[in-house]
Every structure is written in C-alpha cells, then in structure tokens.
C-alpha cells in the first residue's frame, strides 16, 4: 500500500515514543508554533552552549507526522553546531519539497529520511515542518539572546 511510504515504521515508533517531549525548565528561547489549517500546536525550548545546541525539548499535540518529525529533529540536532543544524534543516526542507522524487541523504538526515514519503502528500508537508519551523525560530532567538 502506498500509504506505507508515508507511515514508515520509524515514524510510528517516534510517534509512540517521542524523544525529548518534556519541556525543560530553563532555556535560551521558547517558541510556540501552530498549524492554522489543522490546529496542531507545539512549544519548543532551545538551549545553546556557545555555537552548539545543548538541548531541545518540546511539548505539543498533533498528528503522527508532526510529532515524529519533531522527535526525530531533537535526536538529530542535539549536540550539533548551529551551522551543522542549518545544513541539516536545509536538506530536510529540500526533501519535503521534492514531491516524492527524492529519498533524502541518509548521511545528513539519518532517521529523518523516513519522512521522505510526506513529500508526496502536499497537505501533510506542513505537519512535518511544524517542529522544524519552531526550531528555526527558537534557534535564531537563542543566538540573538546570547550575542
């Protein structure tokens, strides 16, 4: 079934066992993002340690795609440098816009390649991006605060 491209095992696993889904009490920046077309919401905290990402924690409600995507994001970006995170985010964004023509670079995106199937479902791309947009926003704020 084509649907299995969308709901890869990895996604359902992250959905059922979301990583870092517990807001830290301290942070450099906290953001709240919303998906206006379906009502999904996310709160996301970022803590930096100089140039590197010390912690990302979050809470929210949403579909398996949005929840898994942010869970995967935290696994992938914690411990990376801001500039590495930027490269990974760009690569993910690119994958989402590929309309199913790309599978994603596993060396860069790791588990996030499991979300490749989302790019075939235009209405779901926003779900997958919710956490990534929130992270982008939060990291910019955190850098601004620390500089």
């Amino acid at each position: 079934m084509q649907l299995d491209n969308l709901y890869q095992e990895v996604i359902l696993d992250h959905y059922k066992n979301p990583q870092n889904k517990k807001l830290s009490s301290s942070y450099d920046a906290q953001v709240h993002h919303i998906n206006p077309s379906c009502g999904d919401e996310i709160t996301l905290n970022v803590t930096l340690d100089g140039e590197s990402i010390a912690a990302i924690t979050w809470d929210g409600v949403g579909c398996s795609i949005s929840q898994a995507s942010v869970s995967i994001l935290t696994d992938l970006l914690i411990g990376k440098s801001i500039s590495q995170a930027q490269v990974i985010s760009d690569s993910f964004m690119h994958l989402m816009q590929s309309k199913g023509t790309e599978t994603g670079d596993e060396a860069v995106l790791e588990d996030a390649v499991a979300l490749a199937g989302v790019s075939q479902y235009p209405a779901r791309i926003k779900c997958a991006l919710l956490g990534w947009m929130a992270f982008k926003d939060a990291s910019v704020q955190a850098m601004a605060k620390n500089s």
Partner: protein
C-alpha cells in the same frame, strides 16, 4: 418520496472517478464543498457559449440575454427561499455576504438602526464558523461595541439559559448559525428571533449548512438576513447569497462601491441605486449566478424534504454504527433530534489527520481539523476532529465504507 442516491450519483461526473490506487471515491466532505451535477456545469458553460455579455450594461441582444439569465437566476433563488427577487443579493460567497453585513453596518451613520457604538453589543455563539465570528469581532473592534456569545453545552447544543442577559437592550445584531458545520446541531431559532426583535436587534442567520440540506423558508423563520454559499448547494464556486428583508436592505448602506451600483456620480460624491443593485458593484459573477440557479432548480426537483430525510436516515445509520466502534466518540448530539447529516468524532488516540489520511488511502474523503470553528474545538476539549458530512448523493455503502475504514485504521495505527 424517498430519493434514489444511486440514480442521483450518476448526475455527478466526479463521483465515478477513482482515488489513489484505483479506489472508488467515497465523498463525505460535502460540508466543505459539494460536488456538481452536469446540469450545473452545463449551465455555466452554456452561458459562456451562447449568452455572455455584461448584464445591465448594454442595449445589444447579448447584453439583454445576459441580463435575463442573471435576473432569472435571482428569481429562482427568491422562489427557493420564499423571498422576493429584489431581496436577493449576489455575492461571491457566504464569507463575503457576512462581511458585507458587518462592513455595511460599520458604514451606517448615527441615527441608523445599524449604527453601532460603544455600549452596543453584537451576539454570536461559540459554535460559529470563523466566517460568522471574525467579521463581528472586527466590527466590534472598529465601533467599540461589545461581542457577546451563547455558550455550547457538552452535548453540542446552544445554551440558551441566559438568553435574556445575553441579548439585552443594547444588542443591535444577533448572528447565529442555522446548523453547525462541526456538530450537525440545528439551532432552534424561535426564542432567539423573538428576544432579538423585542429589543430591536436584527438576526443574521448563517445558513451555509442548512439551505443546501433542508427547506429554508425565510418568511416562516422570521430572521432578518440569511447568507449561504453556492458551492455547498451543488452550485458553482464563486457565488454566494445574501437575503435581507426589503426594508432593511433599503436602509443598509452599501459595502463594495463601483460600477452599476450607483444612481449618480461626480468627482467628489456618489448616490446609490436601490437594493439589490446597491450591493452588487461591478460586472456580476453572471455565469456563477446562472449555475446556482440551475443548482437550486435541480435540488427543488428532487425536493428539499426528500434530501433532508435521506441525510437524516444516513446520519442515523452512521451514528448507530459509530456507537459500536470502540474508542469512537461523537462530538455533538448523538441522537437525530434537531440534527443534520454532519457527524464529527474522535477515534481514541489516532490523530484525525492520520485517520483522514488512512481513509483517503481507501478512497474516502473526510475533513479533519478544527473545521474553521477553532473556538468550538477548543471548548469541546479536543485538538481536532474527523468530520463526515453527507449529502443527497451519499449511500448506505458510503457509510459502510467509512465504518470499515475506521476499523481498519484502528488496526493500522495499533
């Protein structure tokens, strides 16, 4: 007389197409927009092929024919609602109709019954679609008036227990939905109309989810304005209706200004044509009006009572079936008392987006999310719901397909 949905479905070309891997389309999203029968598609095409010209703007034969087509459509809408032709205003959508009212009231000068100031109030309800909420929020913000609302009970009914304090001497407008696009609830209007009129307020009825599905007779409802969209009544996109009592339309200032709505124009000032022209600036959406005329004629031929009865019987079947599926919770009335064919629900921990996606893979189109009624969704304590909304072309097999789809989704996401 029971209608035959299998025969009706043949009139709608899209219903014979397939979805995803060759699945038959099961369209349960008519609350968002309805499908179109051939007679409607052809009416629009034929207008362009044979009669297209600018209505009311020419003395040549095509302009005459275009004018006849447009005004003929107006008469059909009037008859459909048991109203007068000059009480029918063509807009682009219910959204425009509601904005027309709120902006035109904002244009009313002091002394007019439509003029609002601080101290006045506008009453809505918690179950309003954004289209019947935000325009009134904005009008309140612009005029200093207060926005008040009826709450919704846990069963999804309007809580009218405080009607006399909610609608009070300061109330100028009561804007309420006839049938909730989320809950399926049909709101009883008698007490609201009585109370509103007793304090001199006008009643605006958002009939987007009622006019397509049941007989709506403006004279017997007693409300003052009615709005609905063509695209939900098997009609074209790009056309909406505002009905208003003649004397109120005459009193209301215009909204959009421009060509064809004027009486006289100088460089610095303008005066207005009588209603409905006053509210129809510009070359009208003629082909869409003609298509809407064909749509309402089509529905009338089948009979609105028959359509309503058909939807009620399918909704009852659906509610019965849903009651037997573990973890399914219906949001809104669970019996058919004052209720239409729109059924929203949650399925355990499965997020509506995921459920909707699974159903789509089976060819079943439902809507998921807050359905443009976010305050209601929040009030009901759910982040989102899945909605099946029925229409004349739906069948018992469609209901069975949905029920099977839900059960299979439960397995898929288990």
């Amino acid at each position: 007389m029971a209608l035959n949905p299998y025969e009706i479905a043949k009139d709608f070309p899209i219903l014979s197409r397939t979805i995803r891997d060759g699945k038959k389309l099961v369209y349960l999203d008519s609350g968002a927009t309805s499908q179109k029968p051939n007679v409607v598609i052809d009416a629009e095409s034929n207008f362009y092929k044979f009669h297209n010209a600018a209505a009311h703007r020419g003395a040549h034969q095509l302009a005459e024919e275009a004018t006849d087509a447009l005004e003929g459509a107006r008469s059909i809408v009037a008859t459909f609602l048991n109203a007068e032709a000059e009480e029918i205003v063509f807009t682009k959508s219910a959204t425009e109709s509601l904005n027309l009212l709120s902006y035109a009231m904002g244009n009313a000068e002091s002394g007019s019954r439509f003029h609002l100031t601080a101290g006045d109030s506008i009453v809505v309800s918690e179950m309003e679609h954004h289209a019947n909420l935000i325009p009134w929020q904005q009008l309140a913000a612009r005029t200093g008036a207060t926005l008040k609302w009826f709450e919704v009970t846990p069963e999804g009914r309007l809580d009218l227990s405080s009607i006399d304090s909610i609608i009070d001497a300061n109330t100028k407008v009561v804007a309420i939905t006839h049938q909730s696009n989320v809950l399926g609830t049909i709101n009883p209007l008698g007490d609201i109309v009585k109370r509103a009129h007793s304090v001199g307020a006008v009643v605006v009825l958002d009939a987007c989810q009622s006019v397509p599905h049941m007989k709506v007779d403006v004279k017997s409802l007693g409300v003052d304005f009615i709005t609905f969209s063509g695209h939900k009544t098997v009609g074209p996109t790009g056309i909406g209706i505002l009905w208003g009592r003649s004397e109120l339309l005459n009193e209301l200032p215009p909204f959009l200004t421009g060509g064809s709505m004027i009486e006289n124009v100088t460089m610095t000032s303008a005066t207005w044509a009588p209603a409905p022209r006053k509210f129809e600036a510009g070359v009208p959406n003629m082909a869409q009006a003609v298509g809407l005329g064909a749509a309402l004629t089509y529905l009338s031929t089948i009979g609105m009572e028959n359509i309503h009865a058909h939807e009620v019987s399918l909704a009852k079947l659906l509610l019965d079936e849903l009651a037997h599926i573990e973890d399914v919770k219906v949001v809104g009335p669970s019996d058919m008392n004052l209720r239409g064919g729109t059924v929203s629900f949650t399925v355990g921990e499965i997020h509506p987006h995921d459920l909707g996606q699974y159903l789509d893979s089976q060819g079943i189109a439902v809507r998921t999310g807050h359905h443009c009624a976010w305050p209601l969704t929040r009030k009901l304590g759910v982040p989102a719901t899945t909605r099946a909304s029925l229409y004349l072309y739906n069948t018992q097999e469609d209901i069975q397909a949905l029920v099977t789809g839900i059960r299979d989704a439960q397995k898929y996401f288990a």
